[in-house]
């Protein structure tokens, strides 16, 4: 394998978080590697893992690249990992969806949309680092504003927020 490509593969493998192109550029700075070369290597690697159809593949997620096990194998991997953290409740998931689409958003607005108090699900989301406090809104009472985190993108396998279906697309699901 081409040495640069092998290094990039090794870096992605070693990184605990999705590895961004910026970081790869930074690591290669003495070699003056341009972004296009890096992107080319990355697409090659992605298609190689796709064709190979092995136990894991290379995915673009949360603004970077990361190896992940193939979804079809989840039942087997779960056997290895044992008990996993509990799935999110419907309340938490709905609260998360509202924050994801309406961010930056204050708690009162989330509550208006859900029609109920969201203290508990909001706290769960903060504890799981799917949502964070972003700052305060400059209106009377200076309420806290909430937004989603990088981990939110990682957990739901999103490249970035623009990958979320639009509200229009979601409306079509209702009909």
């Amino acid at each position: 394998m081409d040495e640069t490509k092998a290094i990039i593969e090794g870096l992605i493998f070693a990184s605990e978080t999705p590895l961004t192109i910026d970081k790869i550029v930074e690591i290669f700075q003495e070699r003056n590697l341009n972004r296009q070369d890096i992107t080319d290597h990355l697409s090659e690697l992605m298609s190689e893992y796709g064709v190979r159809h092995g136990g894991f593949y290379l995915q673009e997620v949360a603004g970077g690249y990361q190896f992940r096990t193939r979804p079809e194998l989840s039942a087997w991997i779960a056997k290895l990992k044992g008990v996993r953290s509990a799935a999110l409740t419907t309340a938490a998931l709905e609260t998360l969806a509202i924050i994801a689409y309406r961010q930056p958003v204050v708690k009162a607005e989330v509550e208006r949309l859900r029609g109920v108090d969201v203290s508990r699900p909001l706290r769960t989301l903060l504890e799981r680092k799917l949502v964070r406090m972003v700052g305060r809104k400059d209106v009377p009472g200076k309420p806290m504003i909430y937004g989603t985190t990088r981990k939110f993108l990682e957990v739901f396998s999103l490249k970035d927020l623009s990958e979320l279906p639009t509200m229009g697309e979601l409306k079509d699901l209702t009909k």
Binding site: Q66, R68, I77, R84, Y101, G115, V116, S157, L158
Partner: protein, 221 residues
């Protein structure tokens, strides 16, 4: 399951009230969540039952309209949450490489990222736990004023360290919002109380000057 566009209010209200009865016996907290919606429904029902008063000359329209709008919006977010759930969820459908647990934190070096991972919630939660352990409720009263004051205190101390002494007007630096004047005054009171600054006046109606309580030179060592 109802047609959102045509809500038979009586039916839905009855269902909700029954639902709440069941929930009450199970879990009071959960029932509380639905109280708002039930109250809205009862409110709408009462409006529909009362004869229309047109004295104000305002057409209020169908009071159910507002609820329909909210339910439609809510339905969209329900779809959104389902579309999230349908994605490849980490640790459910896909897994990243297994890493040995993090050993001792790396010495020195720049670990801004680690702090960013921590975030505001973890910070305030850590503080709450400390206070909780102490069991001193009066300490819990950290509010916006307290933190705004801390900002002003830090600024004043910075300016004083730079310039040895300042007048009250210099502190305000031409910015005369009421909020700023109040916080500046409160900050000065706090600083004097904490024995961090000294305030001197040349005479009645004279200029008020501020000094560090402990000059920089003595401070070192």
């Amino acid at each position: 399951e109802l047609d959102i566009y045509n809500i038979p209010i009586a039916l839905i209200t009855k269902q909700y009230l029954e639902y709440i009865d069941i929930l009450k016996t199970l879990n009071l907290d959960l029932a509380g969540e639905y109280l708002v919606l039930a109250a809205t429904l009862v409110h709408i029902k009462s409006k529909l039952l009362l004869p229309e008063t047109t004295e104000e000359g305002e057409e209020e329209g169908d009071p159910r309209q507002e609820l329909v709008q909210q339910l439609l919006e809510y339905q969209e977010f329900k779809n959104a949450s389902q579309s999230l759930q349908a994605r490849e969820v980490l640790e459910r459908d896909v897994f990243v490489r297994g890493y040995a647990p993090v050993e001792a934190p790396p010495p020195g070096d720049d670990d801004n990222q680690a702090w960013q991972e921590i975030g505001l919630f973890e910070l305030v939660d850590a503080f709450r736990k400390i206070l909780g352990n102490l069991g001193q409720p009066e300490l819990m009263e950290i509010d916006l004023d307290r933190t705004s004051l801390a900002d002003r205190i830090n600024e004043i101390m910075d300016q004083l360290r730079e310039r040895q002494s300042l007048t009250f007007t210099e502190l305000l630096n031409g910015k005369l919002s009421r909020r700023l004047i109040i916080y500046t005054f409160m900050a000065l009171l706090e600083l004097v109380k904490q024995r961090m600054i000294r305030i001197c006046q040349t005479g009645p109606f004279g200029v008020i000057r501020l000094f560090l309580a402990v000059a920089e030179e003595e401070g070192h060592g």
